[in-house]
């Protein structure tokens, strides 16, 4: 029964592929995102850029606020809980969230342990910077992976770095011999059977999206060409000059990510992109949270 639930949860992520998941903070924003072609929305009280600006402790959003967004749209609704905070996850499960993001964007509740996600019926997505983090999260029960990137910056450099590392390690695993694979699994502190899966299939056992710092159609196309199966856009949309137009353009860019002519057209007249801060200007490195 547990396995069947995990399969169903993995399957939902498969249905999200080729799509854009957008951060929203109000029912109105959720409706804009759905109308623009989001395949799911992430309900949260403050988008990462504002969490960064506000400082302090950042926690799971008010369930009432999340329910308001659930009632406003027909697409799947995700919400974030703190790393290791299984009680927050229980609450999100109780309100029948479609996906829980155990997220480094919020303040970690546990500096050692992640949530045992196999104990839940709702699916989890987790961030990862490399193959080791991804497979450890999957072993804990994550049914979907996203790159961590560096949330709330509008700077795509970390998402690119994480996706490149992950793809490069997958290629390395794919070409290993059996004896090398035992050692590699040990080095990455991941279960051997998951290492074998990557070796045989040359991909993660679950869907892998890009996240963190995606702000333009070109950013989205870049991540797709680097091997992402879909894209999360957080602060990039509702921190920009024309959210509707930018959101719709990013959705189309993810579908036709290899067509430069169409991307050129989509990139025109989008108004101001989020200003962003680069990695040397930020004080709080969220990607370091949860390894």
């Amino acid at each position: 029964m547990k396995n069947e639930r995990f399969e169903l949860n993995k399957n939902l992520a498969q249905m999200l592929k080729g799509g854009v998941i957008m951060d929203v903070t109000t029912p109105e924003q959720a409706k804009i995102a759905e109308a623009a072609g989001a395949c799911a929305v992430m309900a949260l009280e403050r988008i990462p850029a504002d969490i960064r600006a506000a400082g302090g402790v950042s926690r799971m959003s008010d369930p009432k606020m999340i329910k308001g967004i659930q009632n406003a749209v027909t697409i799947p609704v995700m919400a974030k809980c703190r790393i290791g905070h299984f009680a927050e996850a229980q609450i999100l499960q109780a309100i029948e969230i479609d996906y829980i993001d155990e997220s480094e964007v919020l303040s970690p509740a546990d500096d050692k342990y992640h949530i045992d996600k196999t104990a839940f019926r709702v699916p989890f997505v987790c961030g990862a910077r490399d193959l080791g983090e991804a497979l450890r999260r999957i072993n804990e029960g994550a049914a979907m992976i996203r790159t961590k990137g560096e949330p709330g910056t509008g700077d795509v450099v970390q998402a690119v770095r994480h996706m490149r590392i992950m793809q490069s390690e997958i290629r390395r695993f794919g070409s290993m011999s059996a004896d090398e694979l035992y050692e590699a699994a040990k080095e990455l502190a991941v279960p051997y059977d998951l290492a074998v899966y990557v070796h045989e299939n040359k991909k993660l056992p679950v869907v892998n999206f890009a996240a963190g710092g995606v702000a333009t159609p070109a950013d989205a196309a870049l991540m797709m060409q680097l091997g992402a199966e879909g894209v999360f856009v957080g602060s990039g949309i509702f921190k920009s000059g024309n959210p509707e137009k930018r959101a719709a353009a990013i959705v189309k860019a993810v579908t036709n990510y290899e067509d430069a002519d169409m991307l050129a057209e989509l990139s025109e007249d989008l108004g101001e992109a989020m200003v962003g801060i680069n990695e040397h200007e930020i004080e709080l490195i969220m990607e370091e949270r949860g390894k």
Binding site: E4, L16, G18, G19, E34, A35, C39, E96, R121
Partner: protein, 189 residues
């Protein structure tokens, strides 16, 4: 035999793999120029119907695909694909392609916690495994629609002439029955 797979959003790669295993050639349809070539059948995959429907319209594909289906092109829609083909969606004001005389209910089993798997008969082809992900079902059919599967008293697979739909995802299992049946439709057309 060449099958076009609508690849705007969703689980289209899974259909490609399934058909590849059955020896059919496939190609992806992402924009207008992709459907200018000749092909023998079309698959509309699972995903979000709102996203696929919007992209169909904005990429200028809706009318062209409608014309092809009305002209007899065999088409197979799974989950979101069923919703795109339905003439009416009870709890959604949208009509996308609207070529098939069925009424569907969207997210009919609720949120992800309502997703489930089952096994049931598919036409006269025996029992097949069925995966339902935030799935719709069919609440009404017009004349000339053949009901192929029911689960818990709800219609979950049907055929009308050149159109085959399932509320479940046969592309997520190893069982090839439903895809074989679609390829038989293509061969017979």
């Amino acid at each position: 035999m060449k099958i076009g797979i609508l690849a705007l959003q969703g689980a289209f790669v899974e259909h490609e793999k399934m058909l590849g295993g059955l020896g059919a050639e496939t190609f992806e349809i992402r924009q207008k120029r992709d459907i200018e070539r000749a092909f023998d059948g079309l698959i509309i995959p699972g995903g979000e119907s709102t996203v696929q429907g919007k992209l169909l319209a904005e990429l200028g594909l809706t009318e062209k695909i409608k014309a092809l289906i009305n002209g007899g092109l065999p088409v197979f829609g799974t989950c979101a694909g069923l919703l795109l083909l339905a003439k009416c969606i009870e709890n959604d004001e949208h009509v996308y392609l609207g070529t098939m005389d069925i009424t569907a209910v969207r997210n009919a089993y609720g949120r992800q916690l309502g997703s489930f798997s089952a096994a049931a008969g598919f036409g006269d082809m025996g029992e097949v495994p069925m995966t339902f992900i935030r799935a719709p079902y069919i609440s009404g059919v017009g004349d000339g629609v053949e009901i192929l599967s029911e689960v818990g008293g709800r219609i979950v697979a049907a055929r009308q002439n050149n159109m085959l739909v399932t509320a479940f995802h046969p592309e997520l299992n190893d069982n090839k029955t439903v895809h074989s049946a679609f390829l038989d439709m293509v061969r017979a057309s």
